[in-house]
Protein backbone atom coordinates (compact mmCIF):
# COMPACT_ATOMS: atom_id res chain seq x y z
CA UNK A 1 0.00 0.00 0.00
CA UNK A 2 1.46 3.32 -1.01
CA UNK A 3 1.24 6.21 1.43
CA UNK A 4 -0.57 9.36 0.47
CA UNK A 5 2.73 11.13 0.00
CA UNK A 6 4.07 8.33 -2.21
CA UNK A 7 1.01 8.44 -4.41
CA UNK A 8 1.42 12.18 -4.85
CA UNK A 9 5.03 11.65 -5.81
CA UNK A 10 4.25 9.00 -8.35
CA UNK A 11 1.62 11.25 -9.93
CA UNK A 12 4.20 14.01 -10.19
CA UNK A 13 6.56 11.56 -11.83
CA UNK A 14 3.97 10.41 -14.32
CA UNK A 15 3.18 14.00 -15.29
CA UNK A 16 6.85 14.84 -15.75
CA UNK A 17 6.97 12.94 -19.01
CA UNK A 18 4.39 15.07 -20.78
CA UNK A 19 6.09 17.44 -23.14
CA UNK A 20 3.14 19.77 -23.67
CA UNK A 21 -0.27 20.59 -22.30
CA UNK A 22 -2.01 18.53 -24.98
CA UNK A 23 -0.50 15.31 -23.73
CA UNK A 24 -1.32 16.22 -20.18
CA UNK A 25 -4.92 17.04 -21.01
CA UNK A 26 -5.28 13.85 -23.05
CA UNK A 27 -4.24 11.93 -20.00
CA UNK A 28 -6.60 13.76 -17.68
CA UNK A 29 -9.44 13.37 -20.12
CA UNK A 30 -8.73 9.66 -20.33
CA UNK A 31 -8.79 9.44 -16.57
CA UNK A 32 -12.06 11.33 -16.60
CA UNK A 33 -13.57 8.99 -19.13
CA UNK A 34 -12.38 5.77 -17.63
CA UNK A 35 -14.51 5.62 -14.57
CA UNK A 36 -18.05 6.03 -13.47
CA UNK A 37 -16.92 7.08 -10.09
CA UNK A 38 -19.98 6.99 -7.98
CA UNK A 39 -22.98 4.68 -7.71
CA UNK A 40 -26.19 6.22 -9.00
CA UNK A 41 -27.84 5.87 -5.60
CA UNK A 42 -25.16 8.10 -4.10
CA UNK A 43 -25.71 10.89 -6.59
CA UNK A 44 -28.05 12.55 -4.16
CA UNK A 45 -28.88 16.17 -3.59
CA UNK A 46 -26.97 15.90 -0.35
CA UNK A 47 -23.81 14.85 -2.10
CA UNK A 48 -23.93 17.38 -4.90
CA UNK A 49 -21.81 20.50 -5.08
CA UNK A 50 -23.20 22.83 -7.67
CA UNK A 51 -20.41 24.82 -9.15
CA UNK A 52 -21.27 27.62 -11.46
CA UNK A 53 -19.35 25.86 -14.20
CA UNK A 54 -19.87 22.20 -13.46
CA UNK A 55 -21.46 19.98 -10.86
CA UNK A 56 -19.65 17.43 -8.75
CA UNK A 57 -20.74 14.74 -6.33
CA UNK A 58 -18.88 13.25 -3.42
CA UNK A 59 -19.74 10.30 -1.25
CA UNK A 60 -17.60 9.24 1.71
CA UNK A 61 -17.43 5.97 3.62
CA UNK A 62 -15.26 4.78 6.46
CA UNK A 63 -14.05 1.16 6.36
CA UNK A 64 -11.30 -0.56 8.33
CA UNK A 65 -9.82 2.73 9.46
CA UNK A 66 -9.68 4.12 5.94
CA UNK A 67 -11.70 6.70 4.13
CA UNK A 68 -13.37 5.47 0.95
CA UNK A 69 -14.33 8.31 -1.34
CA UNK A 70 -16.44 8.07 -4.47
CA UNK A 71 -17.04 11.05 -6.64
CA UNK A 72 -18.24 12.16 -10.00
CA UNK A 73 -18.57 15.28 -12.09
CA UNK A 74 -20.35 16.30 -15.26
CA UNK A 75 -17.38 17.89 -17.03
CA UNK A 76 -14.72 15.47 -18.18
CA UNK A 77 -11.68 17.53 -17.21
CA UNK A 78 -13.11 18.04 -13.76
CA UNK A 79 -13.74 14.30 -13.60
CA UNK A 80 -10.14 13.60 -14.55
CA UNK A 81 -8.89 15.75 -11.73
CA UNK A 82 -11.35 14.10 -9.38
CA UNK A 83 -9.86 10.78 -10.39
CA UNK A 84 -6.42 12.06 -9.36
CA UNK A 85 -7.77 13.35 -6.07
CA UNK A 86 -9.41 10.04 -5.26
CA UNK A 87 -6.27 8.13 -6.16
CA UNK A 88 -4.51 10.23 -3.54
CA UNK A 89 -7.13 10.35 -0.82
CA UNK A 90 -9.26 7.25 -1.05
CA UNK A 91 -8.10 4.33 1.03
CA UNK A 92 -6.06 6.53 3.36
CA UNK A 93 -6.50 7.01 7.05
CA UNK A 94 -8.36 10.13 8.19
CA UNK A 95 -5.27 11.32 10.00
CA UNK A 96 -3.07 11.15 6.93
CA UNK A 97 -5.69 13.00 4.92
CA UNK A 98 -6.03 15.75 7.50
CA UNK A 99 -2.27 16.25 7.60
CA UNK A 100 -1.78 16.22 3.84
CA UNK A 101 -1.35 19.13 1.52
CA UNK A 102 -2.34 19.64 -2.08
CA UNK A 103 0.91 20.92 -3.49
CA UNK A 104 1.14 18.07 -5.99
CA UNK A 105 -1.60 19.74 -8.01
CA UNK A 106 0.65 22.74 -8.31
CA UNK A 107 3.61 20.60 -9.26
CA UNK A 108 1.74 18.98 -12.13
CA UNK A 109 0.60 22.36 -13.42
CA UNK A 110 -3.09 22.07 -12.69
CA UNK A 111 -3.31 24.70 -9.99
CA UNK A 112 -5.77 26.86 -11.90
CA UNK A 113 -8.36 24.09 -11.72
CA UNK A 114 -8.38 24.31 -7.96
CA UNK A 115 -8.67 28.07 -7.83
CA UNK A 116 -11.42 29.01 -5.37
CA UNK A 117 -12.97 31.36 -7.89
CA UNK A 118 -13.16 28.87 -10.73
CA UNK A 119 -16.54 27.65 -9.55
CA UNK A 120 -16.10 24.17 -10.97
CA UNK A 121 -16.85 22.50 -7.64
CA UNK A 122 -13.36 21.09 -7.10
CA UNK A 123 -12.47 23.34 -4.22
CA UNK A 124 -15.66 22.27 -2.50
CA UNK A 125 -14.77 18.62 -3.15
CA UNK A 126 -11.39 19.02 -1.52
CA UNK A 127 -13.01 20.77 1.41
CA UNK A 128 -15.52 17.96 1.83
CA UNK A 129 -12.84 15.32 1.57
CA UNK A 130 -11.09 16.94 4.51
CA UNK A 131 -14.26 17.58 6.50
CA UNK A 132 -15.32 13.96 6.19
CA UNK A 133 -11.87 12.87 7.30
CA UNK A 134 -11.82 15.29 10.22
CA UNK A 135 -15.16 13.91 11.36
CA UNK A 136 -13.52 10.47 11.60
CA UNK A 137 -10.55 11.60 13.64
CA UNK A 138 -12.63 12.59 16.63
Amino acid sequence: MQTLKEIQESIIEEFAIFSDWTEKYEYIIDLGKSLPLIEPQHKTDENIVKGCQSNVWLHADFQDGKMIYKADGDAIITKGIIALLLRVYSNQSPKEIVNSDLSFIDSIGLKEHLSPTRANGLVAIVKRIRIEAIARTK
Partner: protein, 405 residues
Protein backbone atom coordinates in the same frame (compact mmCIF):
# COMPACT_ATOMS: atom_id res chain seq x y z
CA UNK B 1 -17.47 53.61 -45.08
CA UNK B 2 -15.61 50.64 -43.71
CA UNK B 3 -13.42 50.74 -40.67
CA UNK B 4 -9.72 50.22 -40.33
CA UNK B 5 -9.46 47.22 -38.03
CA UNK B 6 -5.70 47.34 -37.75
CA UNK B 7 -5.88 50.90 -36.59
CA UNK B 8 -8.59 50.08 -34.10
CA UNK B 9 -6.73 47.06 -32.78
CA UNK B 10 -3.65 49.19 -32.25
CA UNK B 11 -5.68 51.24 -29.75
CA UNK B 12 -6.12 48.22 -27.49
CA UNK B 13 -2.88 47.37 -25.69
CA UNK B 14 -4.25 44.11 -24.32
CA UNK B 15 -4.59 42.70 -27.83
CA UNK B 16 -0.79 42.49 -27.93
CA UNK B 17 -0.87 39.99 -25.11
CA UNK B 18 -0.03 36.35 -25.34
CA UNK B 19 -1.88 33.73 -23.36
CA UNK B 20 -0.33 30.29 -22.94
CA UNK B 21 2.33 31.42 -25.41
CA UNK B 22 -0.11 32.16 -28.22
CA UNK B 23 -1.64 35.51 -29.15
CA UNK B 24 -4.80 36.25 -27.20
CA UNK B 25 -8.08 35.96 -29.05
CA UNK B 26 -10.60 37.72 -26.88
CA UNK B 27 -14.17 36.57 -27.46
CA UNK B 28 -15.62 37.30 -24.04
CA UNK B 29 -16.79 40.79 -24.84
CA UNK B 30 -20.29 40.36 -23.50
CA UNK B 31 -18.78 39.84 -20.05
CA UNK B 32 -16.37 42.76 -20.31
CA UNK B 33 -15.06 44.50 -23.38
CA UNK B 34 -11.46 45.62 -23.66
CA UNK B 35 -10.39 49.20 -23.08
CA UNK B 36 -8.72 51.43 -25.66
CA UNK B 37 -5.74 53.53 -24.75
CA UNK B 38 -7.82 56.69 -25.16
CA UNK B 39 -9.83 55.61 -22.13
CA UNK B 40 -6.84 54.31 -20.15
CA UNK B 41 -4.99 57.56 -20.79
CA UNK B 42 -7.99 59.60 -19.67
CA UNK B 43 -7.91 57.82 -16.32
CA UNK B 44 -4.16 58.21 -15.86
CA UNK B 45 -4.37 61.83 -16.95
CA UNK B 46 -7.13 62.53 -14.48
CA UNK B 47 -5.05 61.32 -11.57
CA UNK B 48 -1.93 63.06 -12.84
CA UNK B 49 -3.59 66.44 -13.40
CA UNK B 50 -7.08 66.97 -12.05
CA UNK B 51 -7.81 64.63 -9.18
CA UNK B 52 -10.00 66.35 -6.59
CA UNK B 53 -13.33 65.87 -4.94
CA UNK B 54 -15.99 67.40 -7.12
CA UNK B 55 -18.92 69.77 -6.58
CA UNK B 56 -18.89 72.51 -3.98
CA UNK B 57 -15.14 72.91 -4.08
CA UNK B 58 -13.81 76.41 -4.58
CA UNK B 59 -10.32 75.56 -5.69
CA UNK B 60 -9.21 75.14 -9.28
CA UNK B 61 -8.61 71.40 -9.23
CA UNK B 62 -12.05 70.77 -7.83
CA UNK B 63 -13.59 73.08 -10.41
CA UNK B 64 -11.76 71.41 -13.25
CA UNK B 65 -12.56 67.90 -12.06
CA UNK B 66 -16.19 68.91 -11.69
CA UNK B 67 -16.28 70.31 -15.20
CA UNK B 68 -14.78 67.12 -16.60
CA UNK B 69 -17.22 64.98 -14.70
CA UNK B 70 -20.26 67.04 -15.60
CA UNK B 71 -18.96 67.27 -19.16
CA UNK B 72 -19.00 63.47 -19.31
CA UNK B 73 -22.60 63.48 -18.10
CA UNK B 74 -23.52 65.94 -20.86
CA UNK B 75 -21.68 63.82 -23.39
CA UNK B 76 -23.72 60.78 -22.38
CA UNK B 77 -26.93 62.81 -22.41
CA UNK B 78 -26.30 64.04 -25.93
CA UNK B 79 -25.23 60.67 -27.26
CA UNK B 80 -28.35 58.90 -26.00
CA UNK B 81 -30.55 61.94 -26.60
CA UNK B 82 -31.87 62.37 -23.09
CA UNK B 83 -33.77 65.60 -22.61
CA UNK B 84 -31.83 66.82 -19.59
CA UNK B 85 -28.36 66.04 -18.33
CA UNK B 86 -29.69 65.57 -14.80
CA UNK B 87 -31.71 62.65 -16.10
CA UNK B 88 -28.40 60.80 -16.35
CA UNK B 89 -27.57 59.39 -12.91
CA UNK B 90 -24.07 58.00 -12.59
CA UNK B 91 -24.08 54.56 -10.99
CA UNK B 92 -21.49 51.89 -10.37
CA UNK B 93 -23.04 49.81 -13.15
CA UNK B 94 -26.22 48.30 -14.53
CA UNK B 95 -26.88 46.23 -11.42
CA UNK B 96 -26.74 49.35 -9.28
CA UNK B 97 -29.07 51.21 -11.66
CA UNK B 98 -31.66 48.43 -11.57
CA UNK B 99 -31.49 48.17 -7.79
CA UNK B 100 -31.89 51.91 -7.44
CA UNK B 101 -35.19 51.81 -9.31
CA UNK B 102 -36.36 48.59 -7.64
CA UNK B 103 -35.64 50.02 -4.21
CA UNK B 104 -37.47 53.23 -5.07
CA UNK B 105 -40.53 51.34 -6.24
CA UNK B 106 -40.83 49.73 -2.83
CA UNK B 107 -42.62 52.86 -1.68
CA UNK B 108 -44.71 53.20 -4.84
CA UNK B 109 -46.02 49.65 -5.30
CA UNK B 110 -49.02 48.12 -3.65
CA UNK B 111 -49.99 44.57 -2.95
CA UNK B 112 -51.77 43.01 -5.89
CA UNK B 113 -50.10 45.24 -8.44
CA UNK B 114 -47.95 43.59 -11.08
CA UNK B 115 -44.49 43.70 -12.54
CA UNK B 116 -43.57 42.04 -15.80
CA UNK B 117 -40.12 40.64 -16.43
CA UNK B 118 -38.97 38.29 -19.17
CA UNK B 119 -37.56 34.80 -19.20
CA UNK B 120 -34.42 35.90 -21.00
CA UNK B 121 -33.06 38.30 -18.39
CA UNK B 122 -29.73 38.49 -16.62
CA UNK B 123 -30.00 37.72 -12.91
CA UNK B 124 -29.37 41.41 -12.21
CA UNK B 125 -32.69 42.14 -13.86
CA UNK B 126 -34.54 39.36 -12.05
CA UNK B 127 -33.41 39.24 -8.44
CA UNK B 128 -34.05 42.90 -7.52
CA UNK B 129 -37.62 42.53 -8.75
CA UNK B 130 -38.08 39.30 -6.84
CA UNK B 131 -36.86 41.07 -3.73
CA UNK B 132 -39.20 43.99 -4.45
CA UNK B 133 -42.20 41.73 -4.93
CA UNK B 134 -41.43 39.87 -1.73
CA UNK B 135 -41.28 43.18 0.10
CA UNK B 136 -44.41 44.74 -1.34
CA UNK B 137 -46.67 41.81 -2.14
CA UNK B 138 -46.69 42.78 -5.80
CA UNK B 139 -46.69 39.95 -8.31
CA UNK B 140 -43.96 39.10 -10.77
CA UNK B 141 -45.15 37.92 -14.19
CA UNK B 142 -42.81 36.42 -16.72
CA UNK B 143 -42.90 36.87 -20.49
CA UNK B 144 -41.96 33.42 -21.79
CA UNK B 145 -39.39 32.81 -24.48
CA UNK B 146 -39.63 30.43 -27.41
CA UNK B 147 -37.14 27.94 -28.76
CA UNK B 148 -35.45 30.57 -30.93
CA UNK B 149 -34.74 32.74 -27.93
CA UNK B 150 -37.44 35.29 -28.72
CA UNK B 151 -39.98 36.76 -26.37
CA UNK B 152 -43.50 35.52 -26.95
CA UNK B 153 -45.10 38.85 -27.65
CA UNK B 154 -48.61 37.46 -27.68
CA UNK B 155 -48.06 36.26 -24.13
CA UNK B 156 -46.82 39.72 -23.23
CA UNK B 157 -50.06 41.18 -24.59
CA UNK B 158 -52.01 38.87 -22.34
CA UNK B 159 -49.92 39.66 -19.25
CA UNK B 160 -50.31 43.42 -19.60
CA UNK B 161 -53.26 44.85 -17.77
CA UNK B 162 -54.39 47.75 -15.64
CA UNK B 163 -52.56 46.34 -12.62
CA UNK B 164 -49.21 46.36 -14.43
CA UNK B 165 -47.01 49.04 -12.96
CA UNK B 166 -43.65 48.27 -14.47
CA UNK B 167 -42.22 46.20 -17.30
CA UNK B 168 -38.52 45.32 -17.11
CA UNK B 169 -36.81 43.77 -20.10
CA UNK B 170 -33.32 43.81 -21.46
CA UNK B 171 -32.68 45.47 -24.78
CA UNK B 172 -30.36 42.63 -25.75
CA UNK B 173 -30.07 39.26 -24.03
CA UNK B 174 -26.58 38.57 -22.78
CA UNK B 175 -26.85 34.81 -23.15
CA UNK B 176 -28.47 34.72 -26.59
CA UNK B 177 -27.87 38.06 -28.27
CA UNK B 178 -31.56 38.49 -29.06
CA UNK B 179 -32.52 42.12 -29.68
CA UNK B 180 -35.90 42.62 -28.09
CA UNK B 181 -38.62 44.79 -29.65
CA UNK B 182 -38.37 47.36 -26.90
CA UNK B 183 -40.09 50.14 -28.79
CA UNK B 184 -43.16 47.99 -29.20
CA UNK B 185 -42.95 46.87 -25.57
CA UNK B 186 -42.74 50.45 -24.37
CA UNK B 187 -45.67 51.52 -26.50
CA UNK B 188 -47.87 48.71 -25.31
CA UNK B 189 -46.87 49.20 -21.68
CA UNK B 190 -47.62 52.91 -21.88
CA UNK B 191 -51.04 52.12 -23.27
CA UNK B 192 -51.93 50.56 -19.91
CA UNK B 193 -50.04 53.26 -18.00
CA UNK B 194 -47.19 51.00 -17.00
CA UNK B 195 -43.62 52.27 -16.95
CA UNK B 196 -40.73 50.48 -18.61
CA UNK B 197 -37.18 49.90 -17.47
CA UNK B 198 -34.81 48.66 -20.13
CA UNK B 199 -31.59 46.92 -19.14
CA UNK B 200 -29.29 48.20 -21.86
CA UNK B 201 -26.08 46.56 -20.64
CA UNK B 202 -25.71 44.36 -23.72
CA UNK B 203 -27.18 46.83 -26.17
CA UNK B 204 -25.08 49.93 -25.58
CA UNK B 205 -21.88 48.52 -27.14
CA UNK B 206 -23.74 47.68 -30.33
CA UNK B 207 -26.86 49.78 -30.77
CA UNK B 208 -27.55 53.39 -29.99
CA UNK B 209 -30.83 53.84 -28.18
CA UNK B 210 -32.44 57.25 -28.65
CA UNK B 211 -34.17 57.72 -25.31
CA UNK B 212 -36.63 60.35 -26.42
CA UNK B 213 -37.47 58.59 -29.64
CA UNK B 214 -38.24 55.25 -28.00
CA UNK B 215 -39.86 57.11 -25.10
CA UNK B 216 -38.29 54.80 -22.54
CA UNK B 217 -38.85 55.54 -18.85
CA UNK B 218 -35.64 54.07 -17.42
CA UNK B 219 -32.57 52.76 -19.24
CA UNK B 220 -29.42 51.52 -17.62
CA UNK B 221 -25.95 50.65 -18.80
CA UNK B 222 -22.45 49.59 -17.63
CA UNK B 223 -19.38 51.31 -19.05
CA UNK B 224 -17.21 48.18 -18.81
CA UNK B 225 -19.24 46.39 -21.45
CA UNK B 226 -18.86 49.22 -23.97
CA UNK B 227 -15.08 49.81 -24.00
CA UNK B 228 -15.18 51.82 -20.78
CA UNK B 229 -13.81 51.32 -17.28
CA UNK B 230 -15.14 49.10 -14.53
CA UNK B 231 -17.14 50.50 -11.63
CA UNK B 232 -19.25 53.02 -13.52
CA UNK B 233 -22.46 53.12 -15.47
CA UNK B 234 -25.54 55.23 -15.62
CA UNK B 235 -29.24 55.09 -15.02
CA UNK B 236 -31.37 57.25 -17.26
CA UNK B 237 -34.80 58.13 -15.98
CA UNK B 238 -37.37 60.64 -17.11
CA UNK B 239 -37.17 63.66 -14.85
CA UNK B 240 -40.66 63.36 -13.38
CA UNK B 241 -40.16 59.67 -12.65
CA UNK B 242 -36.81 60.19 -10.97
CA UNK B 243 -38.42 62.93 -8.94
CA UNK B 244 -41.17 60.56 -7.88
CA UNK B 245 -38.70 58.00 -6.49
CA UNK B 246 -37.38 58.41 -2.96
CA UNK B 247 -33.60 58.71 -2.61
CA UNK B 248 -31.72 55.42 -2.65
CA UNK B 249 -28.65 55.94 -0.52
CA UNK B 250 -28.14 58.65 2.07
CA UNK B 251 -24.97 60.66 2.33
CA UNK B 252 -22.97 63.61 1.12
CA UNK B 253 -23.99 65.29 -2.15
CA UNK B 254 -27.59 64.05 -2.04
CA UNK B 255 -28.39 66.42 0.75
CA UNK B 256 -29.65 69.95 0.71
CA UNK B 257 -29.63 70.54 4.42
CA UNK B 258 -29.11 68.29 7.41
CA UNK B 259 -30.20 68.72 10.97
CA UNK B 260 -31.03 65.95 13.37
CA UNK B 261 -34.64 67.04 13.16
CA UNK B 262 -35.01 67.17 9.42
CA UNK B 263 -33.02 66.52 6.31
CA UNK B 264 -33.94 67.84 2.89
CA UNK B 265 -32.69 66.28 -0.28
CA UNK B 266 -30.85 67.87 -3.15
CA UNK B 267 -32.13 68.07 -6.69
CA UNK B 268 -31.44 65.67 -9.54
CA UNK B 269 -28.99 64.16 -10.26
CA UNK B 270 -27.45 64.63 -6.79
CA UNK B 271 -30.41 63.14 -4.98
CA UNK B 272 -29.31 59.74 -6.30
CA UNK B 273 -25.57 60.27 -6.17
CA UNK B 274 -24.74 59.99 -2.49
CA UNK B 275 -21.09 60.02 -1.53
CA UNK B 276 -18.01 60.68 -3.57
CA UNK B 277 -18.65 59.10 -6.96
CA UNK B 278 -16.29 57.18 -9.20
CA UNK B 279 -14.90 60.44 -10.57
CA UNK B 280 -12.16 59.01 -12.76
CA UNK B 281 -14.62 56.38 -13.98
CA UNK B 282 -17.26 58.95 -14.91
CA UNK B 283 -14.76 61.07 -16.79
CA UNK B 284 -13.37 58.01 -18.56
CA UNK B 285 -16.93 57.00 -19.45
CA UNK B 286 -17.11 60.30 -21.35
CA UNK B 287 -13.93 59.36 -23.21
CA UNK B 288 -15.55 56.01 -23.99
CA UNK B 289 -18.47 57.73 -25.67
CA UNK B 290 -15.99 59.77 -27.69
CA UNK B 291 -14.20 56.58 -28.70
CA UNK B 292 -17.44 55.02 -29.94
CA UNK B 293 -18.47 58.19 -31.72
CA UNK B 294 -15.05 58.32 -33.34
CA UNK B 295 -15.63 54.98 -35.04
CA UNK B 296 -19.36 55.38 -35.41
CA UNK B 297 -21.81 52.99 -33.81
CA UNK B 298 -23.22 52.04 -37.22
CA UNK B 299 -19.78 51.10 -38.44
CA UNK B 300 -19.29 49.03 -35.32
CA UNK B 301 -22.64 47.31 -35.85
CA UNK B 302 -21.87 46.61 -39.51
CA UNK B 303 -18.52 45.08 -38.74
CA UNK B 304 -20.00 42.95 -36.01
CA UNK B 305 -22.76 41.79 -38.33
CA UNK B 306 -20.12 40.55 -40.74
CA UNK B 307 -18.41 38.74 -37.87
CA UNK B 308 -21.68 37.24 -36.67
CA UNK B 309 -22.68 35.93 -40.06
CA UNK B 310 -19.28 34.49 -40.78
CA UNK B 311 -18.97 32.90 -37.36
CA UNK B 312 -22.47 31.44 -37.46
CA UNK B 313 -21.85 29.86 -40.84
CA UNK B 314 -18.45 28.55 -39.85
CA UNK B 315 -19.58 27.14 -36.53
CA UNK B 316 -22.59 25.40 -38.00
CA UNK B 317 -20.20 23.42 -40.18
CA UNK B 318 -18.96 21.70 -37.05
CA UNK B 319 -20.71 18.43 -36.49
CA UNK B 320 -22.94 18.29 -33.46
CA UNK B 321 -22.72 22.00 -32.79
CA UNK B 322 -25.96 23.60 -31.75
CA UNK B 323 -26.52 27.36 -31.48
CA UNK B 324 -28.99 28.74 -28.92
CA UNK B 325 -30.73 31.89 -30.04
CA UNK B 326 -31.55 31.95 -33.70
CA UNK B 327 -33.34 35.17 -34.40
CA UNK B 328 -32.50 37.37 -37.34
CA UNK B 329 -32.27 40.41 -35.13
CA UNK B 330 -29.39 39.70 -32.80
CA UNK B 331 -26.06 41.13 -31.78
CA UNK B 332 -22.75 39.40 -32.31
CA UNK B 333 -23.15 36.81 -29.58
CA UNK B 334 -23.12 33.09 -30.24
CA UNK B 335 -24.10 30.72 -27.48
CA UNK B 336 -23.54 27.10 -28.40
CA UNK B 337 -22.90 23.57 -27.28
CA UNK B 338 -21.43 20.54 -28.94
CA UNK B 339 -23.15 17.23 -28.53
CA UNK B 340 -21.55 15.14 -25.85
CA UNK B 341 -19.17 17.85 -24.69
CA UNK B 342 -19.57 19.83 -21.50
CA UNK B 343 -19.19 23.58 -22.07
CA UNK B 344 -16.66 23.82 -19.27
CA UNK B 345 -14.39 21.31 -20.97
CA UNK B 346 -14.55 23.12 -24.26
CA UNK B 347 -13.81 26.45 -22.55
CA UNK B 348 -10.80 24.90 -20.87
CA UNK B 349 -9.26 23.62 -24.08
CA UNK B 350 -9.96 26.87 -25.93
CA UNK B 351 -8.22 28.77 -23.16
CA UNK B 352 -5.14 26.61 -23.65
CA UNK B 353 -5.25 27.74 -27.27
CA UNK B 354 -5.34 31.41 -26.23
CA UNK B 355 -9.02 31.80 -27.02
CA UNK B 356 -11.10 33.47 -24.30
CA UNK B 357 -14.77 32.50 -24.35
CA UNK B 358 -17.24 32.39 -21.50
CA UNK B 359 -18.84 29.17 -20.35
CA UNK B 360 -21.59 28.47 -17.87
CA UNK B 361 -25.04 29.84 -17.29
CA UNK B 362 -24.07 33.47 -17.99
CA UNK B 363 -26.13 34.62 -15.00
CA UNK B 364 -29.23 33.69 -16.98
CA UNK B 365 -30.28 30.42 -15.38
CA UNK B 366 -33.92 30.61 -16.52
CA UNK B 367 -32.70 30.36 -20.11
CA UNK B 368 -30.59 27.34 -19.23
CA UNK B 369 -33.58 25.75 -17.52
CA UNK B 370 -35.67 26.42 -20.61
CA UNK B 371 -33.21 24.53 -22.80
CA UNK B 372 -32.48 22.06 -19.99
CA UNK B 373 -28.74 22.48 -20.31
CA UNK B 374 -26.10 23.16 -17.67
CA UNK B 375 -24.71 26.06 -19.65
CA UNK B 376 -23.32 27.06 -22.99
CA UNK B 377 -20.09 28.22 -24.54
CA UNK B 378 -20.50 31.85 -25.51
CA UNK B 379 -18.36 33.64 -28.08
CA UNK B 380 -19.16 37.34 -28.15
CA UNK B 381 -17.59 39.81 -30.53
CA UNK B 382 -16.49 43.42 -30.47
CA UNK B 383 -15.29 45.91 -33.03
CA UNK B 384 -11.66 44.73 -32.78
CA UNK B 385 -12.37 41.09 -33.62
CA UNK B 386 -11.47 39.73 -37.04
CA UNK B 387 -12.58 37.04 -39.44
CA UNK B 388 -9.26 35.27 -39.03
CA UNK B 389 -9.83 35.06 -35.28
CA UNK B 390 -13.04 33.24 -36.08
CA UNK B 391 -11.11 30.80 -38.25
CA UNK B 392 -8.80 30.16 -35.31
CA UNK B 393 -11.80 29.66 -33.06
CA UNK B 394 -13.22 27.05 -35.41
CA UNK B 395 -9.90 25.24 -35.60
CA UNK B 396 -9.65 25.39 -31.83
CA UNK B 397 -13.06 23.84 -31.39
CA UNK B 398 -12.13 21.07 -33.80
CA UNK B 399 -8.98 20.37 -31.86
CA UNK B 400 -10.99 20.34 -28.62
CA UNK B 401 -13.43 17.86 -30.09
CA UNK B 402 -10.60 15.54 -31.04
CA UNK B 403 -9.23 15.71 -27.53
CA UNK B 404 -12.50 15.41 -25.70
CA UNK B 405 -14.35 12.82 -27.69
Amino acid sequence: MGINIDKIRADFPILQRKVNDVPLIYLDNAATSQTPKQVIDTIANYYAKYNANIHRGVHTLSQEATELYEGARKNIQTYFNAKESHEIIFTSGTTHGINLVASGYASLLNKGEELIVSEIEHHSNIVPWQMLCEQTGAELKVIPMNINGELEMSAFDRLLNAKTRLVVVNHVSNALGTINPIKEIIKKAHAVNAKVLIDGAQAAPHIKADFQEIDVDFYTVSAHKMYGPTGVGFLYGKEELLNSLPPYQGGGEMIHEVTFEKTTYAELPHKFEAGTPNISGGIAFGATIDFIKGIGIDNIANHEKTLLEYATKSLLNIEGLHIYGNVANKTAVISFNIEGIHPYDLGNILDKLGIAVRTGHHCAQPIMSYYNIPGTVRASFAVYNTLSEIDTLVKGIQKAITLLK
